[in-house]
Symmetry: C2
Subunit: 698 residues, 2 copies
């Protein structure tokens, strides 16, 4: 289904001062205007009321006149676009891409440089980008700053994390816009490398809510060959301005015409479900560029990973704290997790429970002093520790029909990783690993670069493209956050790029509202490998002196498999912990990873979220409901189920006295028969959740 | 032959103020002393007279106390070393490595950091380095500065090029030390990227001569995992201080103990021949680390290269000035040099004249806008232009017993090159290319890095090691200059890394004295691919309006094959230019590339140089004699020839009226029979040279 409708408007230049375009629903309206001395600006109304006041647009160039004023409009063009497309893996089998478009073609007086600003207006939001056509007046150029403004009308409630060029692994703060202040944060939060550029800089996606109940989300899509955009907040005027992440020498982006900036997106709705359920970011990316997607498959996996986080075993083999001396007769510390034997145990567990894969971290030489030293040659990505037998592991996994997931920790030494990438992928193909989890803990090498700069954005995207050459899927951790590139390269199956479950094992952790915010922020850009499924909630289980814990109940961990979309899902806890609670584990075994349909039933950022999804190509549905630190009850209508069909609903819910803090592992499971006319009462404990599977009764 | 003799001296600490060590000949003496507040210092005497006055030593660290004072001597150790070793390819079959060594072990008060300073004293020079042993007090560290001083005694005549972090392709200036001033240079010299850090900074090797005729050369050896050292000149006090090349954020070197600095070398002699003939730099490098050196062979080659420099053809195919659009139906400009047909012509010429190889530049897509744009993804090193058929060329070369030399121009985009390196080398192996010429024209990417920084030093060395994995020889152009790494990795067969012959084609060129200085500077570190052999000296031959020319006579071009040592030698001119003068070309056909022995007969930097070499495993000798802009006569005794053996000497010399400027191509060739008792009169024109081959008469 593709419908295209164009009008090209060319007026007398003097008449062209304001141009408007509305969403297909007519609720949103964007107006473009040249103001003052030919300065581009825009504003946005929602249902007739201003939401974004007149905000300036522009780009500053290094060693060239700024592209922020002195423009005249050459022409404007209006388009309507309505299609649907099928993601390789996704929340829906068909994604509707329906918007009205306005292209404003500008020319700068004196320089004659041409620049277009393109607006796309969807029902749930507005997007715009800068477009630099091929021209003799502008070929190679360096962006020194982007000055895209977002002038808000009031002091919104805001869910924010500090601007940080190197990390997005923060808990969310919930304050007024005017109260944003990075100097007031407790930064003893388990994050190793922080580069916070200023007091009032925050990251996008930035989720906000007005007093009148208007939800706004500012983000970006299709960050390709461009740095990440953070937002500089003027809390007195409620004005946000783009702040691009610099490179080692302070430049922002090196470009050559023809080229485009990423899309700057403003989602706006009076219903939070429109935002959390939006496919806007994916829609704004280029369609799939891979010819062969046959190897891109969802994966449910276990792995040698959480046992290191809880201190049961270690990534490193020798504990010598000097990997460069590793060749000098290392002595095993006895605590190494990634042994052939231990791997076989995980493979056995995965095979027995119908899983797809097993991840092994710490399999390769280099972990002795991998972290915190800004060391360049850390890993070679091809040399296993003496107690990890690649061939034996592969043979055993094959016998059990399990796929192995490779692990490439780079320590942030990207120069080193790129030098070894072909060899690393060659090894993966030799041993039949279909997917890699990459890691970027540490300060970046090339030194002076940041995780969120153009260099690193290009690196993350490059790894995905090169992996595609080998038909390998990528799951990047500590990368810059996704902005929909997985539409274009669907082998980019997941990323971390936010504060994951692991922080609960050894830091202040993630507060109970954390997972109610992530779907409004990080997940808008693509799947997150959050690694849910922790059943032993309290770390005192491993060590009496530990006070750390996961800040949810056990059934909330189950619900996360539905609320945190990812086609790659880990059952992160230890096999022995699941074996004690196989009744609850059944939900993790059953839950699908790829979907025909998704419906957001209830949503309020920072408070609660209830989602149901229909398994791809099946009649099964799965529901996940989560709440923050407050208990919650609600009644859910099951009208999403197929009419006339009976279903067996297995309900995994918090026990009556459950509580994330004092009694997190108390759950009950009940089975009921339901139809589309049924209702179910959800009863969530503080920090709790409910997970339900609906299987059709034949 | 290996002789080892050690004395370990441990005195009461208070008594340990000065320690001395002499050269095996006793002519040189180095004295180490702690002065002032425990500051390390050294001085050097030559034949009893001070040459280096008390000069301080030290290293400054980032975020740690400087290692430049507050030291005490823990112990000292004296050694004597005398061995000889056989280079894979070289100027001599056996290289003698004979020196006395003094190791001073220091400990810093308060920090307890241990640092050793090691001196090696050879007959022709002194070397010292900093040695950082493994210790808990110092593990990872960042060098922010090195403060090695060289306090000279007087205002030496100095052959210098300006300090430049990005280029060493300068002509030499010949002034007093006190007259050094980079602001007075004419920088309209054809060098594309210049990064001159200050008014009084010069590059090493720095060649000097005192009024009394003492020659001094300051340089460095074994620059591995460390930036290049330039020299900051205090012209009033005749004091030089090390200036390390920074990285993008101003740091100099990232190190981990145990580690060492490069050797800082001071060659000293009253005979210039001792310096130009020294193997000191090679001796200070690690022995060969390659197991298999069977593929490392000398190569005499022609190539599609000079024809682009003279404007006859182009590197690029389409001339579109936008390689990123190359895929959009490029139209051949008709001037592309690297066609299959043209390559076959060069292969024919090479085969007919007994050459080993053919280089082809411009064979691969990317040249349309390769230069000057700081563009990251320029070349992929694997995609040929439509008119260059890799398979056909390889087949043809194989049939003619010619080896192809690959070309990898990086445009300075090293990040991009490293990403493609395995693929590029795979392609070379597939098509049986045994050697690669790499190029680094342009500003470096990672952006902010310099050609001479630690990052790039590591890159150049890395490429050589990775090439060794594929049994490939490397010839790097626009790299940092060699400091003897070819001893350790003899597949590093040559480098440019100085102002080569190419500048004569399109710039102010290289003055007639240029080639009399290079052997005292650049060539001390290893072979240079100078690309001599230009027979059509004046560029007006190609275009009447051109005034550029090579600043030598034709026979001086022949002599360069002997005076400019390299096991990789190009006959750089066009086949058709050689075909017009096959009598002179005979010398290029005959001259050897690898040697049993080398004798420096006459040498004066900036004035003249006469060298004879004996071909490896043969009785043939070859002589090269060159002069600067002044005509020169000298009588050469042939006592180097084997006694009792008769030789046919073919003498290629300037014609009577030859002159580099007005009559550069006038030569004559005469043949005489000689023995070791004979003498030959050399008569060199202004800017001229003589080349002689000595073949034993059977």
């Amino acid at each position: 289904m593709k419908h295209f409708f164009s009008i090209i408007l060319v007026f007398a230049l003097s008449a062209l001062h304001a141009q408007s375009v509305k969403s297909p629903s007519n609720a949103l309206e964007v107006t473009f205007k040249l103001v003052n001395n030919g300065q581009p600006s825009y504003s946005v109304n929602y249902k007739g009321k201003p939401v974004i006041l007149q905000s300036s647009l522009g780009i500053k160039l290094k060693d060239k006149p700024a592209l922020d004023s002195n423009f005249e409009i050459i022409s404007t063009k209006a388009d309507t676009f309505n299609e649907s497309w099928k993601p390789v893996l996704g929340e829906k089998a068909n994604i509707v891409n329906n918007y009205n478009e306005l292209t404003v073609s500008l020319k700068q007086k004196e320089t004659n440089v041409k620049m277009n600003i393109i607006f796309k207006v969807y029902n749930e939001g507005v997007a715009f980008r800068y477009d630099f056509p091929k021209q003799t007046e502008l070929n190679y150029f360096i962006i020194s700053d982007e000055v895209s403004q977002f002038n808000l009308t009031e002091d919104y409630k805001t869910f924010w994390i500090p601007g940080d060029f190197d990390s997005n692994e923060y808990v969310y703060n919930e304050t007024k816009l005017s109260e944003i202040d990075n100097t007031k944060l407790n930064l003893n939060n388990g994050i190793g490398v922080k580069s916070i550029p200023g007091k009032y800089v925050v990251q996008s996606p930035l989720m906000m809510k007005s007093a009148a109940g208007i939800y706004i989300n500012i983000f970006e899509a299709a960050v390709v060959n461009y740095p990440v955009m953070h937002l500089n907040v003027d809390g007195t005027k409620f004005k946000l301005t783009s702040q691009l992440v610099p490179n080692a020498i302070g430049d922002k982006a090196y470009l050559q015409t023809p080229c485009v900036s990423p899309w700057r997106t403003i989602m706006i709705s009076n219903d939070a479900r429109d935002i959390v359920g939006s496919q806007l970011i994916l829609n704004l990316n280029e369609p799939c560029k891979l010819d062969d997607v046959s190897y891109i498959k969802p994966m449910k996996y276990v792995g040698i990973w959480w046992e290191m986080h809880v201190g049961k075993s270690t990534w490193d083999y020798a504990g010598s704290q000097n990997a460069s001396n590793f060749a000098e007769k290392p002595v095993a510390s006895g605590k190494h997790g990634a042994t052939t034997e231990n791997t076989k145990r995980y493979i056995d567990f995965a095979a027995k429970n119908g899983f797809d894969g097993v991840l092994v971290e710490g399999w390769n030489v280099g972990w002795e002093d991998w972290n915190g030293n800004w060391k360049e040659e850390v890993f070679d990505f091809t040399t296993p520790y003496p107690d990890f037998d690649l061939a034996a592991v592969t043979a055993y996994a094959k016998e059990k029909n399990i796929k192995m997931i490779m692990h490439h920790e780079t320590s942030g030494s990207v120069a080193n990783y790129e030098r070894h990438l072909d060899r690393a992928f060659d090894l993966m193909k030799k041993y039949d690993y279909p997917a890699v989890k990459s890691g970027y803990v540490g300060k970046i090498i090339p030194r002076g670069e940041f995780h969120d700069g153009q260099t690193m954005v290009n690196h993350f995207n490059f790894v995905v493209r090169r992996a595609a050459d080998y038909k390998i899927m990528v799951n990047s951790h500590e990368s810059s956050r996704l902005t929909g590139y997985s539409r274009t390269y669907p082998n980019y199956i997941a990323a971390e790029a936010a504060r994951g479950n692991e922080f609960n094992a050894w830091s202040t952790g993630n507060p109970p509202n954390h997972e109610t915010i992530l779907p409004f922020t990080r997940l808008l850009g693509g799947p997150m490998d959050y690694t849910p499924g922790i059943f032993e909630i309290k770390m005192s289980y491993y060590d009496k002196n530990k006070t750390e814990q996961v800040h949810t109940t056990l059934t909330k961990q189950l619900a996360l498999y539905v609320t945190m979309y990812s086609p790659l899902q880990m059952a992160a806890d230890l096999p022995e912990n699941y074996e004690k609670r196989m009744d609850a584990f059944q939900f993790i075994k059953d839950v699908a990873l790829d979907w025909d349909d998704t419906k957001i039933l209830e949503a309020e950022p920072g408070d609660y979220l209830t989602i149901v999804r229909k398994a791809k190509g099946k009649e099964s549905w799965f529901l996940g409901a989560i709440t923050d630190e407050n208990a919650r009850k609600s009644e859910i209508k099951l009208d999403f189920l197929t009419k006339g069909q009976k279903y067996k609903a297995i309900i995994y819910e918090d026990a009556k006295d459950a509580d994330w803090k004092n009694n997190p592992m108390a759950y009950k499971i009940r089975t009921v028969e339901v139809t589309s006319n049924s209702k179910i009462n959800l009863v969530l404990a503080p920090g709790g959740g409910t997970a339900i599977s609906f299987e059709p009764i034949k």
